[in-house]
Structure formats: structure tokens, C-alpha cells
Amino acid sequence: METDKLMSSIDRRLFVGVFILGALGCSRPDATGAAPAGSTSTGTTSALAPSAGSTSVTLKGSDTMVILGQRWAEDFMKEHAGTTIQVTGGGSGTGIAALINGATDICESSRSMKDAEKADVQSKRGAPAVETRVALDALAIYVNEKSPLKEISIPAVQKIYLGETKNWKELGGPDHAIILYGRENNSGTYGYFKEHVLQNKDFAASVQTLAGTSAVVNAVKGDPYGIGYGGIAYLEGIRALSVKKDDSSPAVKASIDTAQDGSYPISRFLYFYTAGPAAGTAKDFISWVLTPTGQKVISDVGYYPLPKH
């Protein structure tokens, strides 16, 4: 008798438990820091309209730019007492979605906005998306420190990530399968790489998609046969290959000069986007970022300041 009572209590616990778990499984994404999809339609426009006169500014978007944004925010707040700047990541796509539905004042993006997204900003926020280039980033091709490779051409990288080149032997390395690491598809880095390196072809199915560039770096650090891509600022325990535009061009090492003069073939701008021209503290912040003081922070973090024209 007692057994039965307990059994039925277990059964009930089991049912409710799995019910809840199942539901959690479906509703988990917000736990990863990405914006829950629901918020895109609900929106919290009133509270976070462009901050005219407001002293609190939110920045959201690119994971590549999170550290940079935080350093900027810290230094800016030190110089301008009474202002608050909040920085969160989630990916460029997440940041752009947040700008469209009014959940952030400034969107940080590591890729330029698509036309459809600009149209969304115009229609949902009633103001055009305003783009500001704030820094320069060279996309590095990472390999493990033990890898004998020194340089690689863009077409060779493309073949590797399309799954056509499968073994390091074909590139003069050891006889071992190439282990591919990349970013998940809400990342600006993913989008940039797909467009500029893969020419918009599909990534091989065997690319392991990791959350954040630091996860890619960690993976390549622990994997002698791994290859990854991401921002130049993350070179910690791994090596960045010199990159050739095509097989006949010279190999170029990523550096401030090669990125600024465009000879490093895979460099990109990092952007701030606002809905309409920024006002108040947001405006002060953006113009401060473009001053020499703001631009100096960029080199400290490991990215490159904008070229001085």
C-alpha cells in the first residue's frame, strides 16, 4: 500500500517535472543572453525612445564589441559624472533587432546593416538608421600554436570552410583532419565571414558553432588541428595566420597599418547605429568615442582605431 502511494507520487512528480522541463526547453533562449523573440513584437518603445536629455544610455549588440563598448563606457562615465552607460552583447543581429523594436539606444554591430533592417528601423521607429563607424577590426584566422602553418590564402580558407579541403596535409601540415570552428548564425562575424570569405556559399556541416569569439579561441587553443576565425583582439594562446588575398599575392600580417590601408584582405569596420541622429548623452558618447581619447581605448583593447583622413 505504502509503495503504491509513493509510486503514484513519483509518477505525478515525473509528469509535472517533464512538463516543466519540456516547456523550459522551448523557452530557454533568453538564458543565453539573446533577446527572447517575443520582445521583438511587444517592444518597450516608450521608456527607451532616443534619449533626449537622458543621462542613461544603453548599448546592445555585437559580441565582438562588448569588451570595447564596456571600456568606452567606463572611461566615459569617469569623465562625465552622473551618466550611466549599459553595455550588453548578444550578437550584432540581436542588437539590430533591439534597435528596431526600441529596446536599445545605440546598437553595436560588427557588420553594416542590411537594407531590409534599415527599412524596419524607419518603419518601426519613424526615423532612419544612422550609421557611425567607430573602429576597425581585422578578422583573424586562428590556428593552434603547434600548427606549422604560417600563412594561408583566402581561397584556401574558403575551401576549408566549405568542406572541400579536409586534411591539413593538403596545406603542407600534418596528416590529420582539419577541425573547423566558427560562430553561430546570429553573429556579425559569421555574417561577415560568410559574405567575404565564403562568397555567400554555405558553411560545411562539420563547422562547430560556438557562442562567442572567446569560445572559438578557447577551442582552438585546446585543439592542435583546429582552425577558427574571429576578431584580432582575442589572440591569447593561439596564433593568427598571415593572409594572402589570393594564391599569388603576398602574405599580409594583420596590423594597424595593414588594416588601415586596406592591404590586409579581411578587415572590417565596427559600427554604432542609432534610430535617427543621436541626442543628449548618446550623442555626447558617440562624439567622445571618435575623439583621440576614445580612439585610444580601441588600441588598448586590441582593435584598430579609424584611419585618420
Partner: protein, 326 residues
């Protein structure tokens, strides 16, 4: 947690009618209503989530607009490129077979690791351990449930993956095996606690009878207690399965998330939960991809429900066979 909520009012009510005076019953009635409302709230939220997920998933089946991009056959049958999940592409490919196979692979590995260990631990604690040993082992295992899954996942990513690769020489550093082992940490406390409850619920008269017939301690456990507790242990395994299949953070970090379709445990996999979590943040609301992600969630939910119902049948069948009475 749900147990105490659902059973408490009945017992309390009985006690109330027997002993309390009329004035005190008012307080009881209010208390009972409050408890009921709390219970109903949890049910209502589950139902609301279900409705929401169902509503967002439905266009995958019904909308002809979506079917231009996303066909039902394309979700299950291989395209020219094979079984490919490539939703962000000029020609998006939405084959969900690799995702479900991936989920199943990781879940089965985790059960394979967790079930023997946790059932053995439960047998030890319930049958063999002395008081001191029990008071150390039991909370220690249950403490595993308190470790946030992101911590377990990170441990797997940084430490466990290196061990597994150096021991088994797997091709991918992050793979099914690593994720399965990490996931087993998450389900062990569940399987352990429920199994231990089941073992303890076996009446002492069974053990005494077996001992009286001359059984050794191990015979008592293997031939009498374990079979008697089998339905509860089966329930524990099903509960563990449900926990494993819905887990997100550990698999995102430890699987590598490559949507490969094969049965090699040394290869990376992409699970359904990880796909939803990674892609839902960016997806354009109302697109085929968006609705498909909700459809995946609905399928995941349905499959846990089916497994559960199946588990329930097994449990009640076993109970009848054991002749446990009413």
C-alpha cells in the same frame, strides 16, 4: 515541489473536518483556496506556454506562404546536399533529422553513463550504507543538481573535453561523448533521488521474508528489493530522459553544435535545444525559420510527452505484474 502542492490540501481538509471548530474552518477554507490558486497558476502558465508555442509552430503545417520556402518533405527527406540544416543561406535548408538524431545521441550517452552509476549509488545508500555514509553520500549527489548547468557546461568545454580526447582519441575535441558525460552530471541527481525513494519504499516485510528464507544480503537486494522497486527505477530513468532531452546550456557549450548526421560518438553534434537557443535571438519574426524553431520546440515537447506516457504504461504494467494490490 508539485507533489506537496497537489496532495497537501486533501490531507489538510480531512484533518480540518475532523478536529477544528467552525470558526477555524474559515481560515482553513481561505488557506485551501490560496493553495489551489497557486496550483492553478502553475498549470495555467504551462497551458499558456503550450498555446503560445503551438500557435507559433502551426504555420509550419498550415501556411502556404511558408511552404514556398519550407516543405514538409524537405524537413525529413534528404535534399541533393543530403541531410542539411543550414537556415541562414541563399537557399535555406531546413532538414531537422540531424538535429533530432543529435539530441537522441547525446541523451542516450548521458543515460548510459548516469543510470548505472545513480542506480548503484541509490542501492548503496538505501540498502548497504550505514547512517554516516548515507548522510554524506546522499546530499553530495543531490548537491550536483544545484550546480548551474552553465558551470557544468564550461567545465566540460575546458577540462572534460581535453580528458576525453586524450583518453579516447576522438576526432573532434567537443563531441557527443563529452556532452553526454557532462549531461549525465545533470541527470544523476534526478535518477538517484527517485530510485532511492523507490528502493526505500519497498516494505521491510519483503526483506525480512527473504532473510527468513535464508537469503544473503546481496540476494535480498538483487532478487527481491530491486525487482520490487523496478517500476520506480523505470520512472527514474524516464524522468532522467526528460531532463536530458530538454537541457540546453550544457549541450550548447560541450557538443560543438555541428549539425552532422552520423553515429560516431567522437563527432560533434547539434541538438534541438541548442539550435533553438542559438538561433531564436537573431531570427526574423514571422519568417519560415522563426516558425520552424517553434515547431522544433513543439516536437521536442511532444516527444517528451510520448516517452512519458510510454514510461507510465511500463510502470503501471510492472506494478500490476508485481501484484502490489490496489
Amino acid at each position: 515541489m508539485a507533489v506537496s502542492i497537489s496532495t497537501a490540501p486533501r490531507t489538510v481538509k480531512k484533518a480540518a473536518t475532523l478536529t477544528l471548530k467552525r470558526r477555524a474552518r474559515w481560515g482553513e477554507a481561505i488557506g485551501e483556496a490560496a493553495v489551489k490558486i497557486v496550483a492553478l497558476t502553475s498549470i495555467a502558465s504551462v497551458v499558456l506556454i503550450l498555446i503560445f508555442v503551438g500557435k507559433e509552430a502551426l504555420p509550419v503545417l498550415t501556411s502556404s506562404e511558408l511552404h514556398k520556402e519550407l516543405t514538409f518533405g524537405g524537413m525529413f527527406r534528404p535534399s541533393a546536399a543530403g541531410y542539411v540544416w543550414q537556415p541562414v543561406s541563399e537557399v535555406p535548408k531546413y532538414n531537422i533529422v540531424p538535429l533530432f538524431v543529435g539530441t537522441l545521441k547525446v541523451t542516450l550517452v548521458s543515460l548510459f553513463v548516469a543510470v548505472p552509476l545513480s542506480v548503484a549509488a541509490a542501492v548503496f545508500v538505501a540498502e548497504f550504507a550505514g547512517r554516516t555514509a548515507r548522510e554524506i553520500v546522499k546530499p553530495a549527489i543531490e548537491l550536483l543538481a544545484g550546480i548551474p548547468s552553465v558551470v557544468v557546461g564550461f567545465f566540460a568545454l575546458v577540462v572534460l573535453a581535453t580528458w576525453v580526447q586524450s583518453i579516447f582519441g576522438t576526432e573532434h575535441r567537443l563531441n557527443t561523448l563529452v556532452a553526454g558525460i557532462a549531461l549525465s552530471f545533470a541527470i544523476m541527481p534526478v535518477v538517484f533521488s527517485v530510485s532511492e525513494d523507490a528502493l526505500r519504499a519497498v516494505p521491510d516485510s519483503y526483506r525480512q521474508a527473504a532473510i527468513a528464507l535464508g537469503s544473503t544480503k546481496s540476494q535480498v537486494v538483487l532478487r527481491v528489493v530491486l525487482p520490487a522497486a523496478a517500476p520506480g527505477i523505470a520512472a527514474a530513468v524516464v524522468l532522467g530522459f526528460g531532463r536530458a532531452i530538454g537541457e540546453t546550456m550544457i549541450v550548447i557549450l560541450a557538443t560543438g553544435n555541428a549539425a552532422l548526421l552520423d553515429f560516431d560518438l567522437g563527432h560533434s553534434v547539434r541538438t534541438v535545444t541548442a539550435t533553438i537557443a542559438q538561433e531564436l535571438g537573431e531570427v526574423v519574426v514571422g519568417s519560415a525559420h522563426y516558425h520552424l524553431l517553434f515547431f522544433l520546440g513543439a516536437l521536442l515537447f511532444l516527444s517528451t510527452l510520448v516517452v512519458n506516457a510510454g514510461g507510465e504504461r511500463i510502470v503501471s504494467g510492472m506494478r500490476r505484474k508485481l501484484g502490489g494490490g490496489s
